[in-house]
Symmetry: C2
Subunit: 187 residues, 2 copies
């Protein structure tokens, strides 16, 4: 067997950036192959089911990323709630590059793709909400209140990314991150 030209890790990062900016239907296998330095046929060797499998792998990567960089951090009772929130907000900011990047999740919520990836999308969003719910509880909120606010954080991030993109200014996203902070830190 020949040696791998590209590690799986680098592969996924390249693939994700294409899907993130062009969406599922907008990303051709040529685009995807070019982003990795491999040929189309080689991509099929790694992902026999083609674009669907590639996208699913990207979503698995995102799921893991969210678990590590959001959910677990927010749930870590060894850290003060203030500190947890601060770090996670920074992570979210970095993930979307300050609001420049489109969210992979949004890119896949179109009708034709929901059948394919709906379960993975739901899981990632559910985990995100669980993380922020844990944070709210640590801040002394009731579980019900914490859940409502947690859902709100997801809505604010997703919504502000759209508005930022369409209005070509990063301010709405940045302001929403601030609003999330204030939601928890001030009364």
């Amino acid at each position: 067997m020949r040696p791998q030209k590209v590690t799986n890790q680098n592969l996924i990062e390249g693939l994700m950036s294409v899907i993130q900016s062009k969406g599922y239907n907008g990303s051709s296998l040529n685009d995807l192959a070019n982003s990795t330095g491999l040929q189309k046929a080689s991509l099929y060797h790694r992902f026999p089911k083609g674009k669907k499998e590639i996208t699913s792998a990207v979503l698995s990567f995102v799921e893991e990323w969210v678990d590590i960089n959001i959910v677990e951090l927010l749930s870590d009772k060894e850290q003060k709630p203030n500190e947890r929130l601060k770090i996670v907000i920074e992570n979210i900011d970095n993930l979307y590059e300050g609001g420049e990047k489109i969210c992979v999740l949004r890119a896949l919520t179109m009708d034709n793709n929901l059948d394919l990836f709906g379960n993975q999308l739901k899981k990632i969003m559910t985990n995100w909400i669980i993380g922020f719910t844990n944070l709210g509880i640590s801040f002394g909120q009731s579980e019900k209140e914490a859940k409502i606010k947690a859902e709100q954080t997801l809505i604010l991030v997703q919504g502000s990314l759209i508005v930022s993109k369409a209005m070509s200014t990063l301010k709405p996203f940045q302001k929403s991150l601030l609003a999330i902070k204030n939601m928890y830190m001030s009364p």
Copy 2:
């Protein structure tokens, strides 16, 4: 000349529903033609520049709809602010069919089509924000405060539509409409 089989109005409504659910890259000319009852070639007769022109026409329709059913109503000083808000919230609810429908604007901020439709998207969102800013001012807010809240309404609607879609429940959207009401009506 033969008679038109379909009026322009009916044409646009069919076309919009396809683009709304499948996105720009996800909508083929066959999809678009089928949704209208015309053949592909007939669509080209009505929209010589093809899919781009079709999409642009849909966005013009949306722009007009927003102007009439949101911006103008919110700015109408003959009506009490409470009343204006109530009616507009109902209109938004109907537009998205309670949260079932994807927003055309979102569908087009996605696939790297911003080069093609960015200006129209920006205009529609700007108008939306102007409308709600006028409402806020009528409620006694400062212009600055009103503008911030207006932008917030757009973020909440867009964000909650995504979350509703992904989580397959209409609750986030419905709760966000309520939150918008409370944003203006309660202190």
